[in-house]
């Protein structure tokens, strides 16, 4: 708050506003809900002995991902997620860490995408993705309770029940249930993303939050492959009200495998005519000692959409690129 603002009357405060910004006050409820959410998240992790960390936004090499483009900034890049540096902290011996930060992704703008958005990431030593699902449930319920939603969240006319356990369904099963196409076939025909986005996502998490798990390894750069099924990664996503809220995985711990996957991503990006980023070399060195662990990234703006009952991301942030 600007110092002394509380002494200014409502009339003169309004005069201070730029004409076009009058609508900002309509967002007041959403901004309060969002702030309370952030408070609840910090309380949750602090009470569980997680250390809140801040890693740099400006980095020399973003995570090599097939479909995520970084915004360059001088000779370096704005990070697309804090994943690399959080894993280095994990490898260095910090067993439980979380971070709430801005992430930057080039060209991402839609009803629930912004090129600059807020991410919560947390990592825990000794966990696998199944245990992480539990912790994710506990977090969302804790936030919901803090916001006064004891049993359900009401989102876009749907009552989403919070009683545990939540629905959990394999990605492969979502394909047969909602798209009538086997997942392997969709991957082979390069239509996995399109079917997921256009035919599956809108069905997920409508009656209760839904986890979908075991993704094709091809699109999961840093996730560990399942022991018995090498083509499937130990990765899950949380959906609420048809919206993707979080993405998690059991962390890959094999440095050689990282190297192979990063190289593959570079080749793919090169073949698609996309910018090819340098391989994060320190990461690979430190990562040799990454112990069994799991990590998760949760979109704060998306979660705010759910708790504010907003169909679009624009209503839960202060400014969108179009009004700057």
């Amino acid at each position: 708050m600007i110092h002394g603002v509380e002494h200014i009357s409502q009339e003169s405060r309004t005069e201070l506003l730029i004409e076009d910004d009058h609508d900002l006050l309509k967002q007041s409820n959403a901004l309060w809900t969002r702030a309370k959410m952030l408070g609840a998240i910090r309380d949750f992790f602090v009470s569980r002995d997680y250390l809140e960390v801040e890693t740099p936004n400006l980095i020399p090499a973003p995570i090599p991902e097939q479909h995520i483009d970084a915004i360059s900034c001088g000779d370096w890049f704005l990070h697309t997620s804090p994943e690399l540096y959080m894993k280095r902290l994990l490898a260095a011996g910090y067993p439980r860490i979380f971070q709430i930060c801005k992430c930057f992704r080039k060209g991402e703008r839609g009803s629930y995408h912004l090129p600059e958005f807020t991410m919560l990431e947390w990592y825990c030593l000794g966990m696998d993705y199944r245990l992480l699902m539990k912790e994710c449930e506990e977090l969302i319920i804790a936030i919901a309770n803090d916001l006064g939603n004891k049993e359900a969240i009401h989102y876009q006319g749907k009552k989403i029940r919070l009683q545990r356990p939540w629905e959990s369904i394999s990605v492969s099963d979502t394909f047969t249930r909602y798209a009538l196409v086997p997942m392997v076939e969709a991957v082979k025909e390069n239509s996995f993303d399109e079917i997921m986005a256009c035919h599956i996502e809108s069905h997920l998490g409508l009656e209760q939050p839904t986890f979908i798990y075991d993704y094709p390894v091809s699109g999961s750069a840093l996730a560990k492959a399942k022991k018995d099924e090498a083509a499937v990664a130990e990765r899950f996503e949380l959906y609420i009200g048809g919206k993707e809220i979080a993405n998690a995985c059991s962390e890959l711990i094999d440095a050689d495998e990282y190297h192979t996957r990063f190289k593959k991503v570079q080749e793919y990006r090169n073949s698609m005519g996309k910018a090819v980023y340098p391989i994060p070399r320190f990461f690979l060195q430190d990562n040799v000692d990454i112990p069994k662990s799991a990590g998760i990234a949760l979109g704060i703006d998306r979660l705010a959409m759910i708790f504010c009952d907003s169909p679009i991301i624009d209503n839960v942030v202060t400014f969108t690129p179009e009004v700057m």
Binding site: I68, G107, G110, H113, E194, A197, C198, G219, S220, E237
Partner: protein, 187 residues
């Protein structure tokens, strides 16, 4: 040449040699997946609508569209006739191509017609049109309370709300974008 990332509501593109307008658009990107551009398109000639999802590598030509100043002549059996005042060339638009503009098409009105190659697609009206009230209830006493309105019918059959002092035979100015009454016009 447009890229998928240029897509937005209102963009006019050429697909299979026909002009399309993007009527709805959303950027989606399922978890770690590729960017997808979900679009609803309307064929500007046939009016047919369909959904199509584009990927980042897709490119398209802009629809080559031209606007021409023309004059509205008459309507016959659902066909609206317009004439080029210089070449005297006449073209016809269907009822669905004309759409809501039919409410404001008065004889000899100067309009702009949008063409794709030699095919007329749609009409754009001037923002303001002066029209005659052909039917109105008389002004009853006590109706002068501010904010009160009454319905009237204009020469095209279009009905709208106007202040109670407007009478049959009078001319009013209408905003064609909102369809609302603006002011009384005195000849």
């Amino acid at each position: 040449m447009y890229n998928a990332s240029d897509l937005k509501k209102g963009l006019r593109i050429k697909l299979d040699n026909e002009p399309y307008i993007v009527t709805e658009f959303n950027f989606v990107k399922p978890g770690k997946g590729q960017a997808l551009y979900r679009s609803k398109l309307r064929n500007m000639i046939t009016g047919a609508q369909f959904e199509r999802t584009f990927r980042s590598a897709d490119t398209f030509e802009p629809a080559d569209l031209q606007q021409k100043k023309m004059q509205y002549l008459y309507e016959e059996e659902g066909k609206y006739c317009f004439m080029d005042n210089e070449s005297y060339e006449q073209v016809f638009l269907t009822k669905s191509q004309v759409g809501e503009a039919k409410n404001f098409l008065i004889d000899n009105l100067e309009v702009e017609i949008l063409f794709f190659e030699d095919k007329p697609l749609e009409v754009s009206l001037p923002n303001f049109v002066e029209m005659v009230v052909v039917k109105a209830e008389p002004w009853a006493k006590g109706d002068s309370v501010s904010g009160k309105t009454k319905p009237v019918t204009l020469q095209t059959g279009y009905q709208l709300q106007v202040p109670p002092f407007i009478e049959e035979g009078e001319k009013i100015r209408v905003d064609t974008r909102s369809g609302a009454y603006l002011t009384r016009v005195k000849d």
